[in-house]
């Protein structure tokens, strides 16, 4: 009996602590939403419900001089290109590593895994110099082109998933005379959908939220991505601007990911958990080879 009472007390404490934490986690988002609907004159009022409700901030955001639609469009197509590039090239390599037998497979795969240890700053400087000499700095090409070179994380994630697809399917397809490409396209791509979805969300999120790379390759407003644009607006705001418009911009910028998150929460969380499993599975992979 006391045991149960103890559990109840602990449950209540857990609830209270989690609730307090949740307020701290969600609070800034509520403040963002609230401020974006406030009148500029009310921007520093400390009430969560706007004293007067307005949509003007959003209207102003999409007015000509801020070029917000261009920022949004840039973020959208660059992130989509990066996602497509990663999905295709990582799936291609992952299929080879998981299914096909060829000389140097383990060596190549180990090399690829090692590249995960290289910090982005190391690749950034030489890449920038190359793109500068190609006169591509200021365009979106340096941002999305490297996504078509494959990637260690995506390849690894997809390979692990492809390994779980029963090999009997491959053998049966082979008996029916299916070619390598057909096995890849007709068996592994459709059956790999859950892992592909997790990778797609993970990649899109990273691309959409990236600040460092667009800051280097598309540093000037208006032809840049949302993150750089918002950072620039913030700098302007400090010289007496409208935080209400800034919050409206922030809200619009996180909206696409929020929508994806609410519809595909499972894939989002799976992407993280898959990363958590990475370590243990790498050990497995090393032992096997």
């Amino acid at each position: 009996m006391t045991k149960q009472r103890q559990k109840l007390v602990l449950d209540i404490i857990s609830y209270a602590v989690l609730l307090l934490g949740a307020v701290l986690m969600v609070g800034p988002f509520l403040w963002m939403v609230s401020t974006s609907f406030k009148l500029p004159g009310d921007q520093f009022t400390k009430t969560l419900i706007p004293p007067a409700f307005t949509l003007n901030n959003f209207r102003e955001l999409f007015s000509v001089d801020l070029n917000f639609p261009l920022l949004f469009w840039n973020s959208a197509y660059i992130s989509i290109l990066i996602t497509v590039g990663q999905l295709i090239t990582c799936a291609m390599a992952a299929f080879c590593f998981a299914v096909v037998k060829f000389n140097g497979r383990n060596l190549l795969f180990t090399l690829l895994l090692l590249t995960m240890l290289i910090p982005p700053q190391v690749t950034l400087i030489p890449n920038f110099i190359i793109f500068k000499y190609l006169h591509l700095v200021g365009t979106s090409v340096p941002l999305w082109l490297p996504a078509f070179w494959g990637g260690a994380f995506g390849t690894f994630l997809l390979r692990q998933y492809f390994l779980t697809i029963p090999r009997d399917l491959v053998d049966a397809a082979r008996v029916d005379g299916a070619s390598l490409l057909q096995i890849f396209w007709k068996i592994y791509m459709p059956l790999g959908k859950p892992a592909l979805a997790a990778l797609a969300i993970f990649t899109f999120q990273g691309a959409w939220n990236d600040l460092l790379h667009p800051l280097v390759y598309m540093p000037s407003v208006p032809n840049t991505m949302l993150t750089v644009g918002l950072a620039f607006f913030q700098q302007q705001m400090t010289h007496g601007g409208k935080f209400t418009v800034l919050m409206a911009g922030a809200l619009i910028s996180i909206l696409p990911l929020l929508i994806v998150f609410f519809f595909a929460q499972k894939q989002f969380i799976e992407g993280i958990s898959l990363r958590g499993l990475k370590r243990r599975q790498t050990r497995g992979a090393c032992k096997r080879s």
Binding site: L18, G21, M32, F44, I125, P126, L180, L212, A231, I269
Partner: protein, 295 residues
């Protein structure tokens, strides 16, 4: 291991084609970059005039230039607070959520929200929260009769930024720990209960040892992230002329290269960062062999 489909005839070409993008990335993107950055670190180059040989000057500067030294101390200070912060808070949250109480999925969504959205967008709100005269935090402090604090001034900015970075990282850590916690067999707890172990004993004798693989992984990831931290620092601590009140190494690399056009010096810093992180990884894996329990 000898599993695998043998490519037949023309399929060898297709195998090559499927691997080509990854091969190009490996040679040019990864290995080429490392070689290029190492070479650059021995040069002076502003990309306007031809590069000149610098020898070890860039590396000597790593130990002499007060700004570079400051960025290094800042990075270590940041990591020293951020890594334990993320690990402890997200483990704590995960343990609470693992108690099988109602509405857990709602809490999970709430805690994961900052991990979904961009640091740039949320930093804009944090800027309003931390504001000196108009900020929400100082408003609350004054309500309680306390003095307002300049949260983003030199003395406090480090703590303020660490706090926001932890806030943004709890969601991911929580998911990792929840996965680790749910993998612990319930029988262990049932057996412990039979033997009369209380909740605290159960946590320290069962949960903590069995969750060490997750703690190890999360510490590793948090350390890598700490040495990469940039977005919040850029958004919250920028000052005039592109300087920062908490310049960390990544910030300093960016500034050296793209504000001062010192690509050689920035390359040396990038190498320094890589070596530091690699050394820490070696140390962690040594710790892992000693302390981490794999079932």
């Amino acid at each position: 291991m000898d599993y695998g489909l043998k490519p037949l005839g023309r399929e060898r070409f297709w195998l090559f084609a499927l691997l080509a993008p990854t091969g190009i990335g490996l040679v040019f993107g990864a290995l080429g970059s490392v070689v290029a950055t190492v070479l650059l670190s021995f040069a002076n180059w502003d990309l306007l005039t031809p590069p000149t040989w610098a020898g070890l000057v860039n590396y000597a500067n790593l130990f002499k230039d007060p700004k570079i030294l400051l960025s290094l101390t800042n990075t270590f200070k940041f990591a020293a607070m951020y890594v334990p912060g993320v690990v402890i808070v997200s483990l704590f949250v995960a343990v609470l959520m693992n108690r099988k109480i109602r509405g857990v999925s709602l809490f999970r969504t709430a805690y994961f929200l900052p991990a979904v959205t961009s640091a740039v967008a949320t930093a804009l709100v944090w800027n309003m929260i931390y504001g000196r005269d108009t900020g929400v935090l100082n408003f609350i402090l004054e309500r309680f009769g306390l003095q307002p604090v300049c949260w983003l001034c030199s003395g406090n900015a480090m703590y303020a930024v660490v706090l926001v970075n932890i806030w943004g990282a709890i969601g991911e850590g929580m998911i990792i720990f929840l996965a680790g916690l749910t993998a612990i067999p319930r029988e262990y707890y049932e057996a412990a209960e039979m033997d009369g172990a209380n909740d605290l004993q159960q946590f320290f004798r069962i949960t903590l040892p069995l969750v060490t693989p997750s703690i190890f992984f999360q510490t590793l990831m948090a350390t890598i992230n700490a040495f990469q931290a940039y977005d919040y620092i850029y958004m919250l601590t920028r000052r005039g002329q592109g300087d920062s009140s908490v310049p960390v190494v990544v910030f300093s690399i960016y500034r050296n290269a793209w504000n001062f056009f010192n690509y050689g010096g920035a390359s040396a810093q990038a190498i320094e960062l890589t070596v530091l992180v690699a050394a820490l990884m070696v140390f962690y894996f040594w710790l892992e062999r000693r302390y981490v329990v794999y079932e």
